[in-house]
């Protein structure tokens, strides 16, 4: 165990540089970042690089991959371009992943902060609600919400956020309980700072690092949830989605297994990249944690 002497060190390099140095120490995390960058690039360039509409016929049905170079990864049973589906699917996956994660974190932060900061009966009530949400199997709740709200992409994203907030709420609550009686919070409280700014300006910034790391987990789970919905045919039919492509590919599994395998590999790689990204973030944000 070495003791860091923070007082005597020369001028520190900027935070971003320190962050990057710690992050790149983890080689798997670099791989994660690389895959993630490719997926983001695919989402951004869908429609420019690969011009085809993923929902329209682009070639002969069930063209195998690498046969016809106008449809490099082949076509499905309706003649739709699989590569183009991959590009547009990346857009939907990322969009749903990011927005659902923001929704989940927002609900989780509010509930967890209130419960952890105030404690007492507020904590009791909010924790029972959290437990109730944790008790209902999340995919069943998601199906129910989609059955009630409908299959529009906005509602699906919101529903995924609603079924994913419990874990971040518990984390925020635990952080708040350990931080709320620290000296810097007491000092601010004695200066007459209001509860709202104590929660959001003093405590929350200190509670954020583990939540940012966990956001990568929620993002991965959101993408898996969306793809499972789309696979079951409950996704938004107006957008190409990897899950939906696999669901359609299931019908031709015997003759053209690549229709299901290609988007499946895309999901695995994307989710994998989030896991690796999360580990890298953990190394960079919580450098003292033993791992």
């Amino acid at each position: 165990m070495t003791v860091l002497d923070t007082e005597l060190r020369p001028a520190e390099p900027s935070r971003a540089i320190v962050f990057w140095r710690r992050y790149r120490r983890n080689r798997a995390a670099l791989l994660g970042l690389f895959i993630f960058a490719i997926v983001v690039l695919m989402a951004l360039t869908a429609g420019f690089v690969d011009p085809g509409d993923p929902l329209r016929r682009a070639g002969d049905p069930l063209t195998a991959p690498f046969v016809d170079m106008s449809v490099p990864l082949g076509t499905d049973q309706l003649g739709r371009d699989i590569l183009s589906g991959l590009f547009y699917g990346a857009r939907i996956s990322l969009l749903v992943g990011v927005v659902a994660t923001l929704v989940a974190i927002a609900i989780g932060v509010i509930i967890g902060a209130l419960a952890g900061y105030f404690g007492g009966w507020v904590d009791d009530v909010l924790m029972r609600v959290t437990e109730a949400f944790q008790t209902i199997p999340n995919f069943v709740l998601l199906l129910t919400l989609v059955a009630i709200l409908g299959s529009k992409i906005e509602w699906i994203t919101l529903a995924i956020g609603i079924v994913s907030w419990t874990a971040p709420a518990r984390m925020v609550r635990a952080e708040f309980m350990s931080l709320r009686n620290r000296e810097f919070v007491d000092a601010a409280r004695n200066l007459g700072v209001s509860n709202t700014s104590l929660i959001f300006r003093e405590i929350l910034p200190n509670a954020l690092p583990p939540i940012i790391v966990y956001a990568s987990v929620i993002m991965a789970l959101s993408i898996l949830l969306e793809s499972a919905l789309a696979f079951l045919g409950l996704g938004d039919p107006n957008y190409a989605s990897w899950g939906n492509m696999i669901g359609q590919g299931r019908a031709v599994l015997r003759t053209a297994w690549y229709c299901a395998a290609i988007p499946g590999i895309a999901i695995v790689l994307t989710v994998l990249s989030f896991s690796l990204l999360g580990e890298g973030l953990n190394d960079a944000l919580n450098p003292r944690q033993k791992q």
């Binding site: 008790t135 209902i136 199997p137 059955a147 409950l234 696999i246 299901a260 695995v268």
Partner: protein
Amino acid sequence: MKLALPPILIYSLRRLVQAVPVVILIMIGTFLLLKLAPGDTVDALVGDMGGADAQFIERLRVEYGLDQPVWVQLWRYMEKLATFDLGWSFVYEQPVSTVLMDRLGTTLLLMATSLSIAFTVGVALGAIAARRAYSLTDNVISTLGLIFYATPSFFLSLMMMLLFSVKLGWLPVGGIKTIAGFYTGWDHVWDVALHLIMPTAALSLIYLSFYLRLMRSSVLQVADLDFVRTARAKGAGETRLMFHHIMRNALLPVVTLFGLQFSTVLGGSVVVETIFTLPGLGQLAYQSVIQRDMNTLMGIIFLCSIIVVIVNFLTDLLYARLDSRIELA
């Protein structure tokens, strides 16, 4: 005189009492969901009858108490749920509770087999990976864990189907038994087991990675603690150290995760049961969404929640048994 109940009993009673508000909240939640859903019981009933005149519909609404204030309706609804009266399924033309009980066995069987495999194999692999941390064995185990963690269950299921049913022809594609088989006795058991291999493997491979990753980091953490060093200094062999000193402590967070994860695994069975056409609760949930059978759907939520509460209660007891530091009373 003070009542001398054994502490474990007091502990379990207290845990049970704590579960009551959660169950009540879930009852209120399902009621709200039913209210949010388009159409009510009478709409479903009238639709089932093929239409009726306005006066009759009005009379039905009064009969079902739908003209009452919402909180009266809520109270009646909760009274019914408390006696496990989950309403009528207009799709199956049976009480919802009957429909659910038909399906419960399959789901419980699937859960029990896949979770016990996932837990034991996950814990064992996690412990092995931690013992040989950063070696080739560890890298292979950890990488496989990461990949299965990232694989959607439906994709894994499809690829297994492709390999074992379509290409090799070893295993049946779906269902719980051979329909025209009419097997009895051990033949029946063997037949069901064959049908369950792929769904069980799909579920357990994916959830195994959760336990594996946690167990690995947990063992690494515990192995560094002072009491392990002391035990080693006193001459305990590596095997004894592992099983006697490290494992028991390292298991605690994994048991917690088992309780927390159980509802997720139950949700995951929806996809797997649907793919393999297993007649369980998960497949029923999917069909109810497609057929807009809200009563059945709410029944599934309620029943699943009760199962989760029971499993959590049992894991709490197990935790208390494993961790002797825990205050029972």
